[in-house]
Amino acid sequence: MPANPAAAEATGPDLAAAYFDQLCERFEQAAAAVHGVDPVTNTKSRPAGAGTLDLGMAGLPVRLRYAGDALRANLLSPFEHLAAGFAGDPVLTISAFDTASSGIEPPTSLWEPIEAAPGTNPVVRLGSERACVLAAAGSRALTAAEPGAGEAVFHLPDASAIPASERAGPIREALQLLMAARGRLMTHAGAVGRDGRGVLLVGRGGSGKSTLALSCALAGMEIVGDDYVLLEPDSLTAHAMQSTAKLSEDSAERLAVPSAAIDPAGFAPTLEGPAKALVDIPTLASDTLKRQLEIRAIVAPTLRASRGGTIATADGLDENGPSMRPISAAEGLRAVAPSTIVQSGFGGGRSLAALADLVRRVPSYALDLSPDPAANAAAVDHLVAELG
């Protein structure tokens, strides 16, 4: 990165890159302040490795750097299940700091401040060929990335008061941008299976994905995510990110989730509707959380049976039991693509092409959900067994 960000502006108006460079510098200052590294002599008062969490994520060596233990405990701990040592340099590096821990502010924002109405999280986005800056007005999360270089910086005002939406998808934008540059598509889907092979659970928020994914985990199936996975389109592999799932109070009751598995922060309002809490998957169903699954089919859970002659309960569940039925590839694409694409922000055309390729290669199904979570999980389990 250029030592003097002003130089970048002088050679061209790449303001996103200039801001990224400035935020990188602020991270180094924050790390120095928190971990006692002298930026001049670069000597450390803590052992080497302090402030880093090395992961194997989506088959890549990823290094998370943090300035302050509060960030690791409150934001990054859901990635610890992917901890893995690696030789050499990481392919992706994400550096996170907060002002409360370090006293370091991010660079002055050069955009007009945006008012965030309650329950909304408008995002300011500045992109260039080299870099991208995303500033969320609601959660006040700031992400700057240089995807080609595999580097991103993340900032929050206070690591001891992280908004629920950010904790539910820690450093999601940074991961999305960096992973996309390495051919991994952050897909709005859960993934469950057996023996390394499974299905993507797709559908917009509120469609029942998380409840179904956790029902499957409780039935002893393997799970790599309830809401977002990293999809490698060529190998049809879904990779895990964080070890937490997001569940509404109603679903937590239905699944009899023990309180030990529910995040102490409890149920908090979400942007998309009912209050949800974070659920720790390993505590809920030990040994079910896996790093990856090879995807053999797409399953779209539906709350309202669309077939004639069935009885749907008031909440849209089919009293006749779950029913798995094949749907067309186009219907599968309609279930998985829009919410993945509209939330990705960048590279929409390429993402849609990758998902279209997916639905051409594996069959799609709709699952009319029943009120019995175990029966729904059994229907998915049966499909996974059938697909081999």
Partner: protein, 139 residues
């Protein structure tokens, strides 16, 4: 009436199983085109004029009286939703009607619009910042 069109800005699309799925990245609406809709879409994207489209479909499905009316109605829906916009005739564009299938029956274009992604946009609107408005000091 304009004669030539191109796919609108911010629209991404794929054809799967004879159905076009198009997503408007600017507002989250998404669309499905079926029946003869994907054929019309393909020819429009190639730069076919409305007249050329009509001729191509009439040659392929001869004897169907509603073709002109169906095409006009579909183009109107596509334009109203920003899926296609008016364009200059593409230079050197050659319109080739896809090969005719023997005994292939004509199906009127089917157009569906889905707006269930709207919430994502209302809740998390994205404000693009560009260099023209930069730098604007924060208050």
């Amino acid at each position: 009436m304009p004669e030539h069109f191109r796919i609108g800005p911010g629209i991404v699309h794929e054809t799967v199983d004879g159905e076009v799925i198009a997503i408007d990245l600017d507002n989250g609406s998404y669309y499905s085109l079926a029946g003869s809709g994907p054929l019309v879409w393909e020819l429009l994207a190639q730069g076919a004029s409305e007249t050329e489209l009509r001729e191509a479909l009439e040659a392929r499905f001869g004897g169907v009286e509603t073709i002109a009316e169906d095409i006009a109605a579909l183009i109107q829906q596509l334009r109203e939703n920003g899926l296609v916009i008016e364009a200059e005739p593409a230079e050197g564009a050659v319109v080739v009607a896809p090969a005719s299938g023997e005994g292939e029956a004509y199906e009127a274009p089917r157009f569906e619009r889905y707006t269930d992604m709207k919430d994502y946009f209302l809740l998390d609107p994205i404000h693009e910042v560009d260099t023209a408005g930069w730098p604007r000091p924060a208050a």
